[in-house]
Amino acid sequence: MRSVQCVVVGGGPAGLAAARTAARHGVHVMLVDENPELGGQYYRQMPETFRTPGRGARLGKESSEGRRLIDDVRALGVEVRLGTVVWGIFDERVVALATQDESERIRAEHLILAPGAYDRPVPFPGWTLPGVFTAGGAQNLMKGYRVLPGRRVLVAGSGPLLLVVAHYLLHGGARVVAVCEASSMRQLWRLAHRMVPHLDFAQQGYHYRRELKDAGVPFLTGRVIRQAHGSASVIGATVSECDGHWAPIVGTETEFDVDALIVGYGFVSSLELPRLAGCESRYDPDRGSYVPVRSREMESSVPEVFIVGDGAGVAGSAVALEEGHLAGLVVANRRDRLLGRDYSREASRARGRLLHLAGFRAVMDELYRFGMGVYTLADGQTTLCRCEEVPVSEALEAVREGATHVNEVKAWTRVGMGRCQGRMCGPALAHLIARAGGTSITDAGVFTPRPPAKPVPLTALAHDAQ
């Protein structure tokens, strides 16, 4: 089996920064990403085949910033493996890779995981209708493929991404009927002074809000999406006011005619790969999700396995860049490529910048503190597990029969057995068990992680039977 000095998984801001810093100090780095292009979700580059000469080849300043980072990584001789999934991580940091036709196992002397995050899935009646998108998915569609999700669009959920998505929609010529933010935003003025050191971010937010206002798009706070209507695809949406925990208030419903509905309740860390590697995680009630346990060197509970970026707790691209850089420094230092004083100076600079960014993050976390009330939106008929098409009622039945852990409900109802490996239904199921069974979310647990983390073509595997 081939051994590689440093394997970085994930080609978004965190992974790119880690690869660049480690490679800059002479470490041999292999950077693996399942997408056809580097950049991840944030620096999403348009696939080569979609690019047209001239106008609109790139969108936004983050795209050109990403281009520079990608060019650096290429120039430093990082071994880049695109279209490659990591489907398993075994003992001794053995990483199982597969493309469409080939598979390979590699021993990573140091392993940096930068798996990113995905949209927090929140089931509600009608959420499986065609035309209902997650915010991340819609952004991906617009940024990566220049495809508008619809012409009359309602954006709902919580967090700054809603504004960004609305910006792209308006930019692309869609009509945004409203943006519904679940948070009351009443904290905004109380927290304003803490945003002073982060004026650049605050300005960005202000710019997006201003743009909505100019386009005449209502920005409704303290509102949640209740239901998507339609049979073949979404034709309408019901929104209602919500309480401080984002639970809907009956009798405050408003209807909108739409042909697309974009829902985003922020992001949760993608923990499949850290869990496969055996890394410990803990439940963070403020975020309403699990985050991996890390040292200040970005190292997980498993020695020489590092986790950086949104995969280690969603904090955005600026934090991801610094964390990746710091992990790259640590790896270079441990390989004696970056010694004593130089390492200390560089690492403490990175930590200083992270500390500064943490201040902004704390404001955002407080402003958009996740409300568990949205998990009460689903009714019995609502699909909980999209892959296996299991309704909420079946999972509830299992809880009534005595199931107290997500793995038990999985065994009894097939929830979480499908293609997505429980990414979509896991968090909602844990909340359902906790609420219906009177236990805690941590007692309800998480699905046991098992390879393959992603589906792998059999042709690729059949040649890897050593």
């Binding site: 199982a96 065994a411 009894w412 057995m417 046991t448 792998v456 073509p457 059999l458 059949a462 039977a465």
Partner: protein, 401 residues
């Protein structure tokens, strides 16, 4: 305060709940204790093939007596059906074709609906199968597979309706052996006194028995299974295959999946700490085995995989019956990766043995533990190539066989 029962069953897998059900049906006051959730051991991760093809008559009779219960589950047990009908084939290499035909004769003698096919007949029956290395196939048109968790839950529900007490999350700390009688167990929920104790604890049975000074001649072994998503052109479910040429099996699963058993030779694992993920090489091996038999599976994708375990006896057949020298102690264990399909009959036979002194539905005497000390291990008159997952690589290399 000790509670009492006529019979205590230890183990909430498919055989444990089946025994509890059969006892409750005979108006026996039965308590089942399970240290975790029901079906959390081998049963829950079983591929639950329902077929009759065996190379020995005793196993075949147990499978044949169990079959009507799977097939007519709703009528007999209440609740939704647990059985999926697909048809079944057992394929062997040319060297074993004559043995296969003898076994088919034996099975037909019992009453099983089965015929022997040539390789070309198999190719006609299952388009897309590679038959170049197949000598013959035994075909069972009525067979298929079951939903293991639903089966366990169905037995549990019916047993409770009939008055059985099912206690999950109850750990047995000690089986009483005083005066040579197994007359009670200490559990995490208190002591339970009973006239008889049945150990049906799967991979955990060996340890429980050892604590009583009893050697069940079994070892726990890991079992690897991968699930693949079939390509669009193979969307229609295929038959259940046991591939004796390559030494594995595969069967369709709901949602366009196919489950593939991957031979695994990891012995003496600890069922309490064994990881449930695939080892790194298993997925590749499974892909190789499946694409050899069904070449179009090259376009399938690996969807998931998992590791289970079971207790394997010295001759890779179950250990059933009364234990000599310990009055009131019974075992139904060491099913050696093949215990699901015979569980309904095992339940009935064990209940007959306990209540009437001998089993009548099927004679389970050949499965008694004493066969090992008497040199009467179960052997097939017309065997096939030894399945690779029955071999312990260390044993093989140390004996030089």
């Amino acid at each position: 305060m000790a509670s009492t029962a006529d019979v205590i069953v230890i183990g909430g897998g498919v055989n444990g709940v089946s025994i509890a059900h059969a006892l409750a049906q005979r108006r026996v006051k039965v308590v089942l204790v399970e240290k975790g959730a029901l079906a959390s051991g081998a049963s829950g991760r079983s591929s639950a093939l329902v077929r009759m093809h065996y190379t020995n008559e005793w196993d075949a009779r147990l499978a044949w007596a169990s079959f009507p219960i799977f097939r007519h589950w709703s009528e007999l047990m209440g609740g939704p059906s647990v059985f999926t009908h697909t048809g079944f084939v057992n394929v062997v290499a040319p060297a074993y074709a004559a043995n296969l035909r003898r076994n088919v004769e034996m099975l037909r003698g019992i009453g099983v609906n089965t015929t022997a096919l040539t390789a070309s007949e198999l190719a006609a029956l299952q388009p897309g199968a590679y038959v170049g290395d197949v000598g013959a196939a035994a075909y069972e048109p009525d067979s298929g597979y079951a939903d293991p968790a639903a089966t366990v839950d169905g037995f549990r529900r019916r047993a409770e309706e009939l008055g059985a007490r099912i206690m999950p999350w109850t750990v047995v700390t000690r089986i009483d052996r005083r005066e040579g009688r197994g007359r009670g167990v200490e559990t995490s929920a208190g002591r339970i006194d009973a006239g008889a104790v049945v150990v049906a604890a799967g991979a955990w049975s060996a340890r429980l028995a050892r604590e009583m000074g009893l050697d069940l001649r079994m070892r726990p072994k890991a079992i690897d299974t991968v699930a693949v998503t079939r390509p669009a052109e193979l969307r229609e479910p295929h038959m259940v295959f046991i591939d004796n040429v390559l030494g594995n099996y595969f069967r369709p699963e709901a949602g366009g999946l196919t489950l593939v058993g991957v031979p695994c030779q990891e012995w003496d694992i600890d069922p309490d700490t064994l990881g449930t993920g695939l080892p790194p090489h298993a997925a590749g091996r499974g892909a190789e085995l499946l694409t050899h038999r069904i070449p179009a599976m090259e376009r399938a994708t690996l969807a998931r995989g998992y590791r289970a375990f079971d207790g394997y006896s010295q001759d890779r057949h179950a250990v059933l019956g009364r234990v000599d020298g310990i009055d009131g102690l019974y075992v139904a264990t060491a099913f050696s990766g093949s215990g699901f399909k015979i569980a309904p009959a095992v339940g009935i036979c064990m209940a007959e043995l306990i209540t009437e002194g001998c089993s009548k539905t099927v004679d389970i005497e050949p499965f008694n533990l004493r066969r090992f000390s008497r040199g009467q291990a179960i052997e097939s008159p017309y065997p096939y190539a030894t399945r690779p997952d029955y071999l312990d690589p260390h044993e093989v290399s140390s004996t030089g066989a």
